[in-house]
Subunit: 143 residues, 2 copies
Amino acid sequence: MDVASPSKADLAREAWTAMLEFFFVKGRPKVLELWREFDLMPPQQMVLGLLDEPRPMGELAHHMHCDSSNITGIVDRLTERGLVERRAAEGDRRVKLVALTDEGRAMRTELIRRRTEPPEEIAALSDSDLRRLQRIFSSALSH
Amino acid sequence: MDVASPSKADLAREAWTAMLEFFFVKGRPKVLELWREFDLMPPQQMVLGLLDEPRPMGELAHHMHCDSSNITGIVDRLTERGLVERRAAEGDRRVKLVALTDEGRAMRTELIRRRTEPPEEIAALSDSDLRRLQRIFSSALSH
DNA sequence: TATTGTTATACTCTATAACTATA
DNA sequence: TATAGTTATAGAGTATAACAATA
């Protein structure tokens, strides 16, 4: 092993470490900023984000990798804020569909707009870098 | 605006969205896995990660972007587990230094090793992609 | 007076287990 | 019996405000 040319595994680990640091440490202030701006904790933001259409409680729990009992509380709080409502599902009366209210839909749109605003360090990259990132992570998401 | 060549702002937003999805949605199971594996919640992992050397409570709070009252509880729980201890700081008796125990140091090493293991989707990238990622995010971290 | 860290309080998230209504 | 969702409970994270010890 040549010290000047690290193994591929080392290279991957270095790159991964830098990315973790960027997203989970340097990016933390932005998470806190959105939390305060919308007065929505991350799990509430996640539920709002999932509601592109009405979805059953269980489906929300599945996508959030948490127990469905948590979803009850999260949806309760979103309901108290007037952002979502529970509806009956046709065909199975055990199922409750969570649907956005008009206010919830407006907040979801604004939240997504803010969440997807790239930070300066990304926005300033070259077209070549941006295209490469887009390709790498779109591909990673479909694997 | 040509539909086939999106503006740079759009390109940046697309790339950023894919990255957010990859790290915060697709990556969530790995976060939960480490949580269970070490029985350490993310904030406890973060404190352990910061302790490359003994640090004052306030410095931990600063790096975690949270109130110092939270650190009291987190350090209490790490102390009960025998992973860290509070020490007096020389020169200012108000300050308490949080230091790893031997057991804490061993767990920190293992935790960092596991955290920095790149997922398959990254490990499988070409050398060229990996080098590009390394360059982009190292640079982003120093800005 | 100002700063460091703790305590008190309230709310949210998280999991597990027991429960209700429905299938 | 099995499933969808809720309730009960306990532990952890978060913030704010009030406090003790020290500077």
